[in-house]
């Protein structure tokens, strides 16, 4: 495939997406400094107020300031997105490397397990798991990663296999490097670009998974605000107070859009694989 004529624009887009992503993370980190109200400050007399100069995003059913909740919600939703993605990729890379390097039956077994979990529809599986476990945020991150690592494992395993069959490992072995060391030295640098793209896309998917779970009421529990459970709560008053659903939904859309476009741009500038 010839060089993409938009390569320059791609670089620009990568930078733009990085800026937006950085801004989102910064807003989340700075929430305690910039949020105009405490996220759980109840004001029953001032409930369901429309957006105004005092409450930019309006207030919810209990009179809590929605802007403050969206900012604090970012901490939870982005933390779940980023940590679950990191864990997903770490888990996937680990499994992929072991499978690829070990070969034979270990490889076969691990890959069959990955295929099996891939065949089970992800959201229903996660819903059942979280209904049984009733997870807090840390366990939720674990669960999301547990149903998401397989794609990364497949990709990493394929790269490792190709390196192994191309004789990298034998060569290293001949030079007296221990197999495990050689894995680290030769394979990791080769798969890192793949992992970066995988992580980026996994962030978006984890945010969406969390929001879907919370939408069904089995994700993050109130009064902790996450964008997903804010939407869950907004659902019952959407017809009369649409802003309650609009802002958290837009926050999810913007974050996922940002990381997805980042992922797409990164992968185009590298190999040109499908971004989904």
């Amino acid at each position: 495939m010839s060089m993409d004529p938009g390569a320059q624009r791609a670089t620009f887009s990568v930078n733009a997406a990085l800026v937006v992503a950085g801004l989102l993370v910064l807003l989340a980190l700075a929430a305690p400094l910039i949020a105009p109200f405490a996220p759980d400050a109840i004001d029953l007399a001032g409930r369901r107020a429309a957006p105004s100069s005092v409450h930019w995003f309006g207030t919810d059913d209990l009179g809590r300031d929605l802007l403050s909740r969206v900012l604090y919600g970012a901490r939870v939703s982005l933390a779940i997105g980023i940590l679950a993605a990191a864990l997903t990729v770490a888990l996937g890379a680990g499994v992929g490397m072991v499978a690829g390097a070990a070969g034979r039956w270990i490889d076969a077994l691990l890959m069959r397990i990955a295929d099996a979990i891939l065949a089970v529809p992800r959201l229903p599986l996660l819903m059942i798991a979280s209904v049984i476990v009733r997870p807090g945020v840390p366990v939720l991150i674990l669960l999301v990663a547990a149903v998401s690592w397989m794609e990364t494992a497949r990709v990493v395993r394929a790269e490792v296999r190709s390196l192994v069959t191309r004789g990298f490992v034998e060569a290293a072995h001949a030079m007296g490097v221990k197999p495990l060391m050689s894995l680290w030295r030769h394979i990791l640098p080769n798969v890192i670009p793949t992992l970066v793209v995988a992580t980026t896309l996994a962030v978006g998917r984890s945010i969406l998974l969390e929001s879907a779970l919370s939408f069904f009421g089995v994700g993050v529990q109130p009064p902790t605000a996450s964008w997903g459970n804010m939407l869950y709560q907004a659902q019952s008053t959407m017809a009369t107070e649409p802003w309650l659903a609009l802002f958290p939904g837009a926050a999810i859309l913007i974050s996922v859009l940002t990381v997805n476009s980042l992922g797409e741009r990164l992968s185009i500038s590298r190999i040109g694989v499908r971004a989904s």
Binding site: M1, S2, P5, G6, R112, I113, D115, A116, I117, L118, A119, V120, P121, R122, L123, P124, L125, M127, I128, A129, V131, I132, G204, L208, S211, A212, F215, F216, V218, L231, Q235, M238, A239, P242, A245, G249, I252, L253, V256, L257, N260, S261, E264, G272, R274, A275, S276
Partner: protein, 312 residues
């Protein structure tokens, strides 16, 4: 021969899935009998009796083998919420889900194919860039939020379409059914349309840059004919493969969409079963959908080979 080998390979997959599903649901606190605790009239001795009757006092391995062999022979147990056979409950709901899935497939392809073609032909132009942004937004949308927004605006706000359900109370004819289908099918189609249009674009680009296409253009064959006759035909194979491969995503989407639009299909049955801890239904749902996904992936794989002789 190849077919046989492929089918044989999916059997261990199904076995792993079955172990996973079984382990998951038996790890639940209260176990499969949790629902009976809801009922203050049920005494501890009744629970013990039920536990024996259902074989829950046996070791897990024996329970697993029993459950699996019953499942394979079509005995999926009885729903804990209404006591009817699980297979019957799922069969009742299947047509609604198939109808929704079929409709959303049509909607997704109707959107993805023209978008994909135009973006490939006009690569880098504004059409391509706009459709790229739309596609990116499509895969980034929280499905339920998109559903709620459409419901709020088109159904409740403007009253153009019914807000939910599969039909007005009695089968009020074809028009009514279609009107009920439009919103949920669109919501379920959105993610797929977005991903498929970009996929078609890139595989069309791949084909368009190949020598025989350039040769055809060189012979003076009109651009439109080249695109439709050669490029699209060659790019269609991979697209069909992806469509089949996305079956698992479709199931997750259906759970969400059916919940938002009160669509009486398998996805809605699943959410009901979640709320009621109806374990036999949950297990059957995961097993059936996973088996369907494995089957469709198998079909995709075989079609990929059939359509593209280069893959051997």
């Amino acid at each position: 021969m190849l077919l046989l080998r492929r089918v044989a390979q999916s059997i261990p997959l199904l076995l792993i899935v079955s172990v996973l599903v079984f382990a998951l649901l038996h790890a639940a606190p209260g176990g499969p009998l949790a629902i009976y605790l809801e009922n203050p009239g049920v005494r501890p001795e009744d629970i013990e009796r039920l536990r024996k009757a259902l074989g829950l006092d046996q070791p897990l391995s024996i329970q697993y083998v029993r459950w699996l062999s019953a499942f394979i022979t079509g005995d999926w147990g009885f729903s804990l919420s209404d006591g009817r056979p699980v297979a019957q409950r799922m069969l009742e709901r299947a047509p609604a889900t198939l109808e929704l899935a079929g409709a959303s497939l049509i909607v997704a392809l109707l959107a993805a194919v023209p978008l994909g073609i135009v973006s490939a032909v006009r690569r880098g132009r504004w059409v391509d860039r706009v459709s790229g942004v739309i596609a990116l937004a499509g895969v980034s949308l929280p499905v339920f939020w998109f559903g709620l927004i459409l419901q709020l605006t088109l159904a409740i706000g403007l009253g153009w379409l019914p807000s939910s359900g599969r039909s007005a109370v009695f089968d009020s004819g074809f028009v009514d059914r279609i009107r009920h289908l439009i919103l949920p099918a669109t919501v379920l189609a959105a993610v797929h349309a977005a991903a498929w249009s970009r996929f078609l674009r890139s595989s069309m680009l791949g084909v368009l840059s190949q020598r025989f296409i350039l040769a055809a253009e060189g012979r003076g064959v009109p651009k439109r004919a080249v695109v439709l006759r050669h490029a699209l035909r060659n790019a269609a194979g991979p697209l069909v493969t992806i469509v089949f491969m996305d079956a698992a995503l479709l199931v997750s989407g259906a759970v969400v969409t059916e919940s938002v639009f009160a669509w009486p299909g398998l996805g809605a049955l699943f959410t009901e079963a979640i709320v009621r801890r109806d374990y036999p239904v949950l297990m059957a749902f995961l097993m059936v959908t996973s088996a369907a996904v494995i089957l469709l992936n198998l079909v995709a794989d075989l079609m990929h080979r059939a359509l593209d002789p280069r893959v051997a």
